[in-house]
């Protein structure tokens, strides 16, 4: 069966060029970068080159990049590390209701350790109001952490505006850029952030590697203690292969962004959104119509549940995702969809299609072609439609 992948927000295939770049580091150039012999120094050089490339992607200085095992670790490190290092100054953290669990659960961990956390609401598009951030800051606030773009509904937050507010208050500012790094242009100084999380596998790099941008002079305590790697900021033998791969992926992403390639994805996405909205009734687009990630399309289809859509799509060869409880392993619908004001029964009927650089127009057409039939078939099974309180 021909398989179409429209789940790039979950993970991306590793670029074949990236794989080629990594290969020699498995069994030939396998040194530990901390070793002073030939093998080690060869690895060291490669790691530093990759660091440069990642810094370049976000217009940072390479000494401000710390490699981690992924986006989740970067988020945990930024949030817990700032909290532990600055607890004498204050115990208050500000975040939003629509953050990734890597951020939310890190905050909840800190609450158990005695910190206080404010979870800001969002509007119906999922946007956070910089004014709300301003109002929430107290003299106990030590950290604001707001995601750059939401992984489910694709909404891009006004980070630059929030950054100004946070800077005025003299508080540390972290953004989870896992969904934006490599996908839209980023300049850490323009955004005004002190920390920024990235994950290799979200932009055609390998999995198991990420990075935290850590602005010079940021007071932080380590999450992972041990050897003196990463200038004493993150212990553990460097994942040379992963780092090399993420570096190459950053280089390729920077090239695509310089060429404005993300605009092609936006076009395909808009075609997908229009096609689906035109052909299917009782459907809603989630997220902001324009302030959204290039590849993200997220819908709610009334009367039906997300997992059943995913199974049906999978049977037709299309890989997609949903915010339904069944697919998240939890019992409640996506916290993001609930935060934008959807009732649970609607939130369960969500479908996320995330396009990548290699999706074609034919694939989008195919999707627009098959979806109405699937929705119709599932709706025929549904006991709702009468006395439905969902949308409207």
């Amino acid at each position: 069966m021909k398989r179409i992948y429209m789940d790039h927000a979950a993970t991306t295939p590793t670029d074949v060029e990236v794989v080629k770049t990594m290969e020699p580091y498995f069994s030939l150039k396998y040194g530990n970068p901390n070793s002073i012999h030939f093998f080690g120094q060869e690895a060291r050089e490669t790691v530093e080159e990759a660091r440069e490339k990642i810094a370049h992607l976000i217009e940072a200085n390479s000494s401000e990049i710390v490699f981690t095992a992924g986006g989740t670790e970067a988020d945990n490190y930024a949030i817990k590390g700032i909290a532990w290092a600055n607890q004498k100054k204050g115990n208050h953290i500000i975040t939003s209701k629509i953050e990734h669990h890597a951020v939310l659960h890190s905050c909840q961990f800190l609450e158990k350790q005695g910190f206080k956390v404010t979870y800001l609401p969002v509007d119906k598009y999922g946007l956070i109001d910089p004014e709300d951030v301003k109002k929430a800051i107290t003299d106990k606030t030590i950290l604001v952490t707001i995601m750059h773009a939401n992984n489910e509904i694709g909404t891009i937050e006004p980070i630059k505006e929030i950054g100004k507010v946070v800077k005025d208050a003299g508080v540390y500012f972290h953004t989870d850029s896992v969904q934006t790094a490599g996908h839209i242009p980023i300049d850490v100084n323009d955004l005004g952030v002190d920390m920024l999380s990235m994950s290799g596998h979200k932009f055609y790099g390998p999995n198991g590697v990420g990075a935290l941008y850590l602005r010079k002079r940021t007071r932080i305590v380590n999450l992972i203690d041990g050897g003196s790697q990463e200038k004493n900021r993150r212990a553990g033998t460097e994942n040379v292969v992963g780092i090399v791969g993420m570096g190459k992926a950053a280089e390729l992403a920077k090239e695509r962004l310089t060429q404005g390639k993300e605009k092609g994805i936006v076009k395909l996405r808009d075609k997908l959104i229009q096609g689906i909205m035109n052909k299917i009734e009782n459907v809603r687009l989630n997220g902001h119509p324009t302030k959204r990630l290039p590849g993200n399309a997220n819908f709610c289809f009334e009367f039906i549940e997300g997992e059943s859509m995913l199974l049906s799509l999978d049977m037709e060869g299309v890989a997609a995702s949903s915010g339904s409880a069944c697919t998240s392993g939890s019992l409640t619908a996506s916290h993001v969809l609930l935060a934008i004001g959807l009732p649970p029964e609607i939130a369960h009927g969500s479908l996320r299609l995330t396009l990548g650089k290699d999706n074609s127009e034919e694939e989008v057409d195919y999707m627009i072609g098959i979806l109405p039939g699937i929705i119709k078939k599932l709706r025929a099974l549904s006991p709702f439609k009468e006395n439905w309180e969902g949308l409207k």
Partner: protein, 127 residues
């Protein structure tokens, strides 16, 4: 490969006995839209034997497959026999369910019980 057994997928692809029974003798509804699961089971009964059974389900693959399965298992059975069908038996008849589905989307037997109760209630009133 896949999270579900082939039997589950068969029932999901081609669910049996989908629909409503307009003049049903009993209707059972279980689940909660907040959790993403609603099953409605309709039965037609003659001489305490279930002669027809249909369903409508809002829910995941397991919810749909278990609904479909029970409508098959129940046809022609005495209502007392039918009451003995457990959610676990439905899952077994489907070749098993993934662990996380055992307790959330596996409600069809409960739905059937409710439909039979409803039938008993109604037939009491009629008498």
């Amino acid at each position: 490969m896949g999270m579900y057994s082939d039997k589950v997928m068969d029932h999901f692809k081609n669910p049996h006995n989908v629909g409503e029974i307009k003049d049903a003798d009993g209707i059972g509804e279980v689940g909660n839209p907040v959790c993403g699961d609603i099953m409605k089971i309709y039965i037609k009964v003659k001489d305490d034997k279930i002669i027809d059974c249909k369903f409508k389900t809002f829910g995941c693959g397991a919810a749909i497959a278990t609904s479909s399965m029970i409508t098959e298992m129940v046809k022609g059975k005495d209502i007392d026999e039918a009451l003995k069908i457990s959610n676990k038996a439905v899952a077994e008849a489907l070749g098993g369910l993934p662990p996380i589905k055992m307790h959330c989307s596996n409600l069809a037997a409960d739905g059937l019980s409710k439909a039979i109760e409803d039938y008993k209630q109604k037939s009491k009133i009629k008498k």
